[in-house]
């Protein structure tokens, strides 16, 4: 469940056991499928490595109990060379495993990241409005590398270490079973402790991860709102907000440190305690002749070789926990059902007749609808201006056409077909919007303009730029190839709007939506743009959101939006004459009176 409000940002954090631990991680196993052979090679070489490592102490035993006891110098060499060979084989197998592993886990991570990105790209506006992008970012970076680390380093060593643990205990039991039993018993508290540790750790590590997301959100807000923060001199306020989150993260991280410190210590101590007992009992056994000295040395060497695998089991288990919570957070996004799913129809020869039929719209948690009973019919090639007070729902109304939001009641049709029956791609090819707040990306000007039509020929680009009075891009240092700064910050508001307009015009849509696109232009430029737009709008069906009489004049007719519904439709001059509310909104009288004063 996504966070719906800031007060309860992480509903899932309060109940981490809601999902069975590891379920999400297991679900991601499909991403390893292309690497099955790599996994087999990894597993086989891992087993070989353990076998080679186990054999070396047995060779030591053979040397102590054989040549050293008997004084046979010549017998040292074959055994010594065997140890050398086993050592080389072990190193060779590790080399093989590592090289295979690198491509497999990085492939997994990269594919998963690509899929997450594609998923987020397709999720509707309503989803993005709810989720802070800092939370999404931490999933795509931190969580994915956690999963990668576990599936490469962690998972493999978990398996190797467990195999090594069992194989060594088996060898030890075989060497001298009473001592072997001591070692086997020492493993019990380790396994028991690991389980209880797992329980506490999952809670604190999820908390840390979520708080990292919160800190990221604060950083993002401060980064994007930097100019406003500076204009008002509120950096202390922003800093305090950030600091609160960062301090909470600090507290949780310290709690995590304490928890793991206890666990890791315990894991290192138990084998050493077992060693003391083995030394005591083993020496007694050697003393009374039931154990050879070589066996005792081999025994102790083997036992000590267990210290590292067992101790690192702690690191690996915490890694596993982190990977599980990370997988939960990733699957959370992957599982989000897109509420806006395309149909399967494509209009062959769209004419562009647009109808709103009894359309209503309410935001999910709003107590009353923003739009209700909206009926509007726009003929192909006709342009309608939507006029209404600030916040009356004009922008939302236009967003319903390309399905950035879906209607809650009624329907929107193009050429008589409900937009929900069309494929998303074909629908959004039919409709292009120039937004009031132009979103420019830090890419070349060309890439920004050709957003909706990457294959547009040069002539069309030039023409679209001319229509939007955006030919200034040719004067940029590298012309159309100049990178436009992030959000187009290096351009003025008017320049950004004109680029966004060029983008919409270039898309050559059947239906062109202009959402108060000209608000930041000066009068002179606006007039030039309007002349050029008239030609474009002759061929397309147009919806123009307008605040000014000058923009309204682009349209053939005007719809007045009041109280969430359309109360009047007609020609500008008629409405001006007959509808007082319209006069109040658009009358130039007051402006003129002021100007003349």
């Amino acid at each position: 469940m996504p966070p719906t409000t800031v007060t309860h940002p992480h509903p899932a954090a309060t109940d981490p056991s809601r999902r069975r631990a590891g379920t999400s991680l297991w679900r991601l196993r499909g991403y390893l499928a292309p690497y099955v052979w790599a996994l087999v090679v990894m597993a086989v070489s891992a087993v070989g490595t353990v076998a080679a490592a186990l054999s070396i102490p047995l060779v030591v035993r053979a040397i102590i109990d054989g040549p050293i006891t008997s004084g046979d110098r010549a017998a040292i060499w074959p055994l010594g060379l065997l140890a050398l060979l086993l050592g080389a084989v072990e190193a060779g197998l590790i080399l093989l495993r590592r090289w295979v592993q690198a491509s497999a886990v990085l492939g997994l991570e990269t594919t998963l990241r690509g899929d997450l990105y594609a998923k987020l790209d397709s999720l509707p506006m309503a989803f993005h409005a709810r989720w802070q992008s800092g939370q999404l970012l931490s999933r795509v970076t931190i969580d994915l590398s956690t999963i990668r680390r576990f599936s490469g380093f962690g998972l493999l060593f978990l398996v190797i270490n467990i195999i090594q643990l069992f194989a060594t205990v088996a060898v030890l039991l075989n060497l001298y079973w009473p001592l072997g039993l001591v070692v086997a018993i020492a493993a019990v508290p380790i396994i028991w402790l690991s389980r209880s540790f797992e329980h506490g750790y999952v809670v604190v590590s999820r908390r840390v991860q979520d708080q990292q997301g919160d800190v990221a959100s604060q950083v993002e807000e401060a980064a994007l709102g930097m100019r406003v923060i500076r204009a008002f001199g509120r950096r202390d306020l922003a800093y305090d907000k950030y600091d609160r989150q960062a301090s909470q993260l600090f507290d949780s991280s310290v709690a995590k440190v304490r928890l793991s410190a206890r666990f890791w210590t315990f894991l290192e101590i138990i084998p050493n305690v077992a060693l003391a007992i083995v030394l005591l009992l083993g020496a007694i056994a050697v003393g009374n002749g039931s154990l050879s000295l070589g066996t005792l040395v081999a025994f102790i060497t083997l036992m000590l070789s267990l210290v590292w695998p067992v101790a690192s089991l702690g690191v690996i288990l915490s890694m596993a926990q982190e990977a599980m919570t990370a997988a939960d957070r990733v699957v959370e996004v992957l599982d989000t059902k897109s509420t806006i799913v395309g149909g399967d129809r494509v209009l062959d020869q769209p004419r562009g007749r647009l109808r709103f039929e009894g359309v209503g719209f309410a935001f999910p948690d709003a107590d009353r609808p923003l739009l209700r009973d909206v009926d509007l019919d726009v003929a192909p090639g006709e342009t309608v201006a939507v006029v209404g007070a600030t916040g009356s729902g004009k922008t939302t109304l236009t967003a319903l056409v390309p399905r950035l939001y879906d209607v809650t009641t009624g329907r929107v049709t193009i050429d008589g077909v409900d937009v929900r029956e069309l494929t998303i791609a074909s629908l959004r090819q039919l409709v292009a919007t120039a937004f009031e707040e132009p979103t420019l990306f830090s890419m070349s000007a060309r890439e920004n303009v050709t957003l909706g039509r990457p294959d547009a020929p040069e002539a069309d680009i030039r023409e679209a730029l001319e229509v939007a009075q955006a030919s200034f891009v040719h004067d940029l240092p590298w012309g159309l190839d100049t990178r436009i700064g992030e959000q187009g910050m290096s351009l003025s508001g008017g320049q950004r709007q004109r680029l966004a307009l060029a983008r919409a015009v270039l898309a050559q849509p059947r239906i062109l939506v202009l959402d108060d696109t000209l608000s930041a232009l000066d009068v002179h430029t606006e007039a030039l743009v309007e002349v050029a737009l008239r030609a474009v709008l002759r061929d397309a069906t147009g919806i123009v959101v307008a605040h000014r009489a000058s923009t309204v004049l682009l349209a053939d007719k005007v719809a007045l939006l009041e109280g969430g519904t359309i109360t009047a439709v007609g020609r500008h001059s008629d409405l001006l004459a007959t509808v007082p509310a319209y006069r109040e909104l658009l009358s130039a009288d007051a402006d003129l009176a002021g100007a003349a004063a």
Binding site: P67, I68, L120, G391, T395, R428, D516, A588
Partner: protein, 607 residues
Amino acid sequence: MSTAADWRGVAAESQDDFTDRVTLLLRDRSRRLLTSLLRPHRRILAVVLAVVLVENAARLAIPYLVKEGIDRGIPPMQAGEGSSVLTTITVVVLMTVAVQAVARQAFLTMSGQVGQRVLLELRRRLFRHFQRLSPAFHDRYTSGRMISRMTSDIEAIDEMLDTGFDGLINAALTLVGTAVLLLVLDVPLGLVALGSFPLLLWLSAWFRRESAVAYRRTRETVAAVIVHFVETMTGIRAVQAFRRETRNEEIFGQVNDDYRLANMRAFRLIGLFMPGIKLIGNVTIAITLIYGAYRTLDGAVTIGALAAFLIYLRQFFEPMQDISQFYNTFQSAGAALEKLSGVLEEEPDVPEPSRPVPLTEPHGTVHFDDVRFEYVEHRPVLQALDLDVPAGQTLAVVGATGAGKTTIAKLMARFYDPSGGRVLLDGIDLRDLSETDLRAAVVMVTQENFVFAGTVADNIRFGRPAASDAEVVAAAEAIGADAFIADLPEGYQTRIESRGGRLSAGQRQLVAFARAFLADPAVLILDEATSSLDVPSERLVQRALRTILASRTAIIIAHRLSTVEIADRVLVLEDGTVVEDGAPAALIASEGGRYAGLHAAWVESLA
């Protein structure tokens, strides 16, 4: 047309490209940062060091005690003299283990806490520093990169503190401790065993050198991933409306794959390093075994000592394996630290004065004295601008797009410093004012209208955090924002979602106005601040402005001449120079004047 490669376009600089020559400088810079971060903790670090020494001494003592057990504990028992020596040794082993346990836990807890403290301090410093850097820097640096520095780079350091620190310290101490102990046990055999150390050091040095490069590359590529990701999510509306998804996935696929390749290179390096260490270790053990067996037969070394040798070598090489894993995190943390230290050493190009001139009661007299400004060299936006605005005057600046209007606003708000000349407030150069005094006196409202996650009331209160609820409401009423706010589901307590989602552009502008009204500055700058308002709202704001501006200096930048009508004085700007300056009525009356022309065009557009 374009391939995935050239989507970014060309820009003047890439701030992430380092030549090899500066690498040394970078390391110096990182070290300075690290030193300054650790200095406050030097007492506790000394304790940590002592504790870790005790821990390692205890750990290294155990194989020696095993040797003693074999060599001294077993013979008396074989001779039937009882097990008292063996029992004593066992008790000593258990005590050593206890010491090790206490020391280890203390070390992990203390070093972990210091690490987190350092991390918190680093987070705070970075945030503070980013705040001090000028908008010009941020324009260049982009918020995506800033976010990447403050999330992914910090995360790399966190991970190092989590796992790498402990591993590396132990490896270093084990290295030294083992070398000493081996020589104490038997010099010739010890020398043979230590023969591998130079090889080991050489391999480590090679790995360190190679992976430093590889890890810097991974940091750079992950930054590209983050920047693209953040931009997509921020501009998701345009992405979806223009069916940008496929192309975006193509681009993301590319930056994602660059990151994968960078990682692959780093992984391959470890893939060579780790088995290399293992090979050296195993060969050393085998040689020690053979030579040790001869020495034992010669009676120069006891069996217990041989066993201790083998245990020490194993104990030494085993963790070395995983050190490379921890070393990774060290490398990426090192690369991250380089970038962070770079940001922290970036001098603010709009620096705050070290000895600010106090400004207690600003009147709002503004003076531009021979001000020149250029964003790009030799492309002046303003040339030799002289301007006197008496306190209380409302000045409107008009002119075509790109004439330099916004630059005047930005200079007045000290987002930039002039390339030449001075901007003065009440006779004081803006560069001599403290940030607090300047921002209390000068507030700018732009068309950007960023809203923060939080309630509507919080967003208005941003103008003056100490304001009461009643004052917040009063500000909204004065500006005409009260009506729409009251209509929201929870009125002033309605939470505004991520990036303002539900508020329309006009509503956000009203919130921004209320914010500025509440801030009550001596100089108010409005940069295209009413462009998204409908006529009635603008009229309301206009009416409110008449009263608000009566008592303060105002600079209004506007395309709409309706906003200009409340001005006492109009400045017409063309290519960075003032071409007309006077009262609006006088300018309208002047036949053939530029303002008269603009005005006529505007009146016509209202038809």
